[in-house]
C-alpha cells in the first residue's frame, strides 16, 4: 500500500533520514520506536509530505506521491494524521472540527457529514461532547476527537505521531483503547510511540529507528523478545 524507497531528509547539512526503505501492506499496523532524535517523527511526516523529502521516493496505492506532478492534497484525503499536540481547531465546536474537511474537501452535505461524525463520536465515546469547544475537553478527550476528525475523511491509512506523549498518564489508556479498536477493525496504521506495551500488543510489525536508519524490524516477539542489534538491545533495556 505504501512503498518507501531510499527516503532521505536533511535540513542543510543536518541529515535526519539517511535512506529508509519500507513497504507497508494494507491492514498492517506498523509501530515505529526509537530514541528521540532518531528521525521517527520526521519519517512519519514525510509519508504525507508535511515534510518534503530531499531524496528518494514514496508511492501510495501505486502512485508516486513524491513526483512533482502529483497533487498531494488528493493523497492527504486518504491519509489521516493524528498529532502529539492534538491540533484541534479552537474556534470550532467538536462537531465542526470533524465535519469541516468532509464538507469543504469531500463536498459532503452538512447532514451527511454530521451523521457520519456522530457515528464516529459514538465510537470514540464522546457523543455528548459534540457541541463543546476543544478548550472544554481534557487531553484524552481532545485526542479522541482528533482521531475522529481524521477518520471522518474515511482514510485508507492512519498516521499517529506520538499520540499519547502530551497526555497525563491517566488519559493514555482511553486513547490507546480507541487506537486498538481501530487496529482490530483492520485499519492500516503507522504509529510513532513510546508506549512499548501498546506497541507489543497491537503492532504487527515493529520498526526500531536510530540515527536516521531503520536499524531493525520484525514482529513484536522478535524485536522485543530477541533484539538482534546492539543498539536495539541498549534502547530496550532503557525503556522496558
Amino acid at each position: 500500500m505504501i512503498a518507501v524507497k531510499n527516503l532521505e531528509k536533511h535540513y542543510g547539512k543536518l541529515e535526519i533520514l539517511k535512506g529508509i526503505d519500507l513497504e507497508i501492506q494494507k491492514g498492517e499496523v506498523v509501530v515505529v520506536i526509537g530514541p528521540s532524535g532518531s528521525g521517527k517523527s520526521t519519517f512519519l511526516r514525510c509519508l504525507n509530505l508535511l515534510e518534503q523529502p530531499t531524496g528518494g521516493e514514496i508511492t501510495f496505492e501505486g502512485e508516486s506521491i513524491t513526483s512533482r506532478k502529483h497533487d498531494i492534497n488528493l493523497t492527504r484525503e486518504k491519509m489521516g494524521m493524528v498529532f502529539q499536540q492534538f491540533n484541534l481547531f479552537p474556534h470550532m465546536t467538536v462537531l465542526q472540527n470533524i465535519t469541516l474537511a468532509p464538507i469543504k474537501v469531500k463536498k459532503q452535505s452538512q447532514q451527511e457529514a454530521e451523521k457520519f461524525a456522530l457515528n464516529l463520536l459514538r465510537t470514540v465515546g464522546l457523543e455528548d461532547k459534540k457541541d463543546a469547544y476543544p478548550n472544554q475537553l481534557s487531553g484524552g478527550q481532545k485526542q479522541r476527537i482528533a482521531i475522529a476528525r481524521a477518520l471522518a475523511m474515511q482514510p485508507h491509512v492512519m498516521l499517529f505521531d506520538e499520540p499519547t506523549s502530551a497526555l497525563d498518564p491517566e488519559m493514555v489508556g482511553e486513547v490507546l483503547e480507541v487506537m486498538k479498536k481501530l487496529a482490530e477493525d483492520g485499519m492500516t496504521m503507522v504509529i510513532v510511540t513510546h508506549e512499548m506495551g501498546f506497541a507489543r500488543e497491537v503492532g504487527d510489525r515493529i520498526l526500531f529507528m536510530d540515527g536516521g536508519f531503520i536499524v531493525e524490524q520484525g514482529t513484536p516477539a522478535e524485536v522485543f523478545g530477541n533484539p538482534k542489534h546492539a543498539r536495539t538491545q541498549d534502547f530496550l533495556s532503557k525503556v522496558l
Binding site: 492534497n73 491540533n87 469541516l100 469543504k104
Partner: protein
C-alpha cells in the same frame, strides 16, 4: 457663547459634517480591512516580487505623512489627468493608509497562529487557501482584534485631514461655524465631543465583540 445653544443653532452644519466623517470612516475601515488582508498575504507570498511590492507599499504608506499622501492623490495625480472628487481622494487615502497599518497587524496575527493548526488542516486534504480562510484567518483576526480596534479609531480621527481638500466633514464644518460666529473655541469643542462619542462607541462595540469571541474558546 453657550456650547449647547451653539451646537443646537448650528446643528445642520455639524450633522452634515458628521455624515461625511462617518462615510469616510466606514469606507476607510472597510477598504482598509480588505486591502490590508490582501497586502498581508502578499507580504507572506512565496514570490519575491510580490513580497517586495507589498513591503514597499507598507513602508511608503507608514513612512510618509498622510497629508502628503492625500495631496498627492488629490492634487498630484490631477496633473497627470487622474482626477478624483474630494470625497473620493479622502476615501482612497484613508483606505490605503490604513491598509498598510492593518496589513502589519494581520501579518503578526497570521504568523502567531500555531503551525500545528495549518498542519492539521493540510493533513485533512485542505488546500492552502481553504486553510487560510477557515483555520488561520479566523484565529488570527481574533487575536489581533484589539489592535484592529485601535486602527479603526485612528481612521475615524485621522479622517479629519480631508477638510484640507474641502470635504465638508466635521472638522470643516467647525471652521465654517467659526467663520460665521467669530467663536474660535466652542465649535471645536463641539466637534471634539462628537469625534469622542464616535471613537468611544467604537471601542465599546469592539470590546463587546472581543468578549463574545472569547466565550467561544478560553484557553
Amino acid at each position: 457663547m453657550n456650547i449647547f445653544s451653539l451646537a443646537y443653532d448650528y446643528r445642520n452644519f455639524f450633522l452634515s459634517g458628521l455624515q461625511y466623517t462617518l462615510l469616510l470612516a466606514v469606507l476607510g475601515v472597510f477598504f482598509g480591512f480588505v486591502l490590508g488582508i490582501a497586502v498581508a498575504l502578499l507580504r507572506m507570498s512565496k514570490l519575491r516580487v510580490l513580497r517586495f511590492i507589498a513591503t514597499a507599499w507598507v513602508e511608503f504608506l507608514r513612512g510618509t505623512p498622510m497629508l502628503v499622501q492625500l495631496f498627492l492623490i488629490h492634487y498630484g495625480l490631477a496633473s497627470f489627468g487622474v482626477e478624483f472628487s474630494a470625497v473620493q481622494s479622502g476615501a482612497i487615502t484613508l483606505s490605503i493608509n490604513s491598509s498598510a497599518y492593518l496589513a502589519e497587524i494581520f501579518r503578526a496575527g497570521i504568523q502567531g497562529v500555531d503551525r500545528g493548526q495549518v498542519e492539521a488542516a493540510r493533513s485533512l486534504g485542505m488546500r492552502q487557501a481553504m486553510t487560510m480562510r477557515h483555520i488561520v484567518l479566523p484565529q488570527a483576526l481574533k487575536s489581533v482584534l484589539p489592535a484592529i480596534g485601535n486602527e479603526f479609531i485612528t481612521i475615524i480621527k485621522e479622517s479629519s485631514i480631508v477638510s484640507f481638500i474641502g470635504v465638508a466633514d466635521l472638522m470643516f464644518q467647525s471652521r465654517a461655524v467659526t467663520t460665521i460666529t467669530y467663536d474660535g473655541f466652542t465649535p471645536l469643542i463641539v466637534v471634539a465631543v462628537m469625534y469622542f462619542v464616535l471613537t468611544f462607541t467604537m471601542s465599546k462595540l469592539l470590546g463587546r465583540l472581543e468578549r463574545r469571541l472569547n466565550t467561544d474558546d478560553r484557553r
